[in-house]
């Protein structure tokens, strides 16, 4: 097998990432730095979704639930138990991953639309639980629709840039290993023909679960970082289905099951929303909708996906 071009693509990715790591020392505008951090956050979120759904073809319609769990774990750990940010962050990833393990076991047996519905329902259920738990049990834990105010960090955008950047970097780098590993071939085989994969010796249940749990772990980290960044969370914000939709659309735009798909899709959509949103405050959503429709019509496999097919690339 010739992995030479793959290695070149990886090298380019590593060089660009290394350059990006120094960005905060050059960017003086706080607005610009914040925008860049948001783009990188979305690349990471789309990457998490791609890791699971892009490679296995199991359309997860509730990834936001792990983002939300991460947010709530960090908020509760910091405000109720006084745990510092970084240990809370680790806890957030861990709780998300463990939850994904127990949710994954029953839901990953479902296929197609049923899996999408189950994951969607779980995300909505979590939102309702955080909203109604306190009132039902007369306690003060999730603080319902009042939300939780986190301790003000006092950190600037540079700090959060350096929180988000490494996580996103790991998520995208993980794609490279997925594409070149036994694990990744297992995932792709599941996407193409699950029964054939199973009888060829692929432990489909375990592999799907591993992808799902890994994806949830990173989503939890992102949720935790964002909660600390914006310092105020409510159930309807952190479990907002719109976040899910955005992860899905970004990945579809970029190309499902590709290395650079989430990067391109997320950067494209975030930047275009920002560019149009500031100029056409009232109409920008319509314009974005139109752009998405046109893009999907011209490139049904997404930007990178189409490039991959046209140029007959094995990996990009």
């Amino acid at each position: 097998m010739n992995f030479k071009t793959d290695k070149i693509i990886l090298a380019v990715f590593l060089i660009i990432s290394a350059a990006l790591a120094f960005l905060p020392s050059f960017v003086k505008s706080e607005y610009l730095l914040r925008l860049i951090a948001v783009v990188i956050l979305w690349i990471g979120l789309a990457g998490c979704w791609n890791m699971m759904s892009g490679y296995t073809g199991y359309i997860d319609f509730g990834p936001v639930v792990y983002f939300g769990i991460g947010s709530y774990v960090v908020a509760i750990a910091m405000t109720k138990y006084g745990i510092p940010f970084f240990p809370s962050l680790a806890l957030a990833g861990l709780v998300s991953a463990i939850t994904a393990f127990f949710i994954g076991i029953p839901t990953l047996r479902l296929k197609g639309a049923y899996f999408a519905i189950a994951t969607f329902a779980f995300a909505e259920a979590m939102k309702q639980i955080t909203l109604e738990f306190d009132r039902t049990f007369s306690v003060s834990f999730f603080q319902g629709s009042d939300g939780i105010t986190l301790p003000i960090s006092g950190y600037d955008n540079t700090f959060f840039f350096y929180c988000i950047f490494p996580v996103t970097f790991l998520v995208i780098l993980a794609h490279y290993f997925i594409e070149h590993s036994k694990f990744g071939y297992g995932l792709k085989a599941i996407k193409e023909a699950e029964t054939a994969a199973e009888i060829s010796g692929v432990n489909t249940t375990l592999i799907k679960l591993r992808a799902y749990v890994t994806s949830a772990f990173f989503l939890g980290l992102f949720g935790a970082i964002e909660a600390y960044w914006i310092t105020y969370i409510t159930p309807s914000d952190v479990f907002n289905v719109q976040k899910t939709v955005q992860m899905v659309i970004m990945t579809l735009l970029g190309g499902m099951g590709t290395f650079l798909g989430p990067v391109v899709g997320a950067a494209f959509l975030t930047l275009i929303s920002e560019a149009l949103g500031t100029r056409f405050v009232e109409y920008y959503l319509i314009m974005i909708g139109a752009i998405i429709i046109v893009a999907i019509l011209i490139m049904p496999s997404g930007i990178i996906g189409t490039l991959k097919i046209r140029k007959k690339l094995r990996f990009i």
């Binding site: 097998m1 036994k182 193409e192 994969a197 010796g201 692929v202």
Partner: protein, 245 residues
């Protein structure tokens, strides 16, 4: 006892018994032909053996290990692989990658050795010219061989071929027969389900016949084709009068 043993395997779908009290054994190095009319339960029996269905009753042993109701990937790793009648290549992957999945997961190999094994198997079944083509884009005979290659790459000692030669022309059938004989000579045993009598008669050491889910004959090819019940159920008068043997 090594090899594969089925004891009184019954598979019921609701009230319908697709497979009923079927027992047979496959000895190491043997080619067992399995014939029977459409709907006789051949594929269902295969699916029970490899773990896609859990039999309603009965036991299946592979090298003395009870594999009844075991998950397909475990059965595969224990040395039993199947090619499907309805071909299911991983379409977006190349032929090479398809076979690689078998070697990596079924054969539990690391990337390096798996790639070597894949090359060997692709050579063996004669798929070299298609190795780096997408498996969805290759012709049917090549896809049949791909199914075989993927099963072989798992390192399984027993292969179940479910109509692996369906849709091939006589010339292609000859090629396929040559490959199957090569596989047997490498020490593997096979169960071959096929409707082409020339194939079944030519390569089988023994033949079992299924009809309405039950085994109606089990023996040497020449005995089976002259069996009254088999003629009535499957072969028909004309073919037996030709004395195919």
């Amino acid at each position: 006892m090594t090899g594969l043993q089925c004891k009184d395997v019954t598979m019921k779908f609701g009230a319908l018994a697709a497979v009923q009290m079927v027992s047979f054994s496959l000895n190491p190095g043997e080619i067992l032909g399995m014939i029977g009319p459409n709907g006789a339960g051949k594929t269902t029996l295969f699916n029970c053996v490899i773990g896609l269905h859990k039999p309603s009753s009965g036991k299946i042993y592979l090298n003395n290990v009870d594999i009844t109701g075991m998950k397909p990937h475990k059965v595969c790793r224990l040395g039993l692989a199947k090619t499907s009648q309805i071909m299911e290549p991983f379409q977006a992957m190349t032929v090479f990658e398809n076979v690689l999945v078998g070697a990596l997961h079924g054969g539990r190999m690391r990337m390096g050795p798996a790639a070597k094994e894949t090359e060997r198997v692709i050579e063996l079944v004669g798929l070299n010219e298609y190795a780096f083509k997408l498996s969805g884009s290759i012709p049917v005979p090549a896809r049949r061989r791909l199914e075989l290659a993927r099963a072989l790459a798992t390192g399984a000692n027993i292969l179940l071929l479910d109509e692996n030669m369906a849709g091939l022309n006589p010339h292609e059938v000859d090629d396929a027969l040559r490959i199957i004989n090569q596989i047997r000579d490498s020490g593997k045993s096979l169960i071959v389900v096929e409707h082409i009598m020339r194939v079944v008669m030519g390569i089988s050491d023994r033949i079992i016949v299924l009809n309405y889910g039950s085994k109606i004959a089990d023996g040497f090819p020449e005995d089976v084709v002259n069996d009254e019940a088999v003629i009535k159920a499957y072969l028909g008068e004309k073919l037996s009068s030709l004395k195919v043997a």
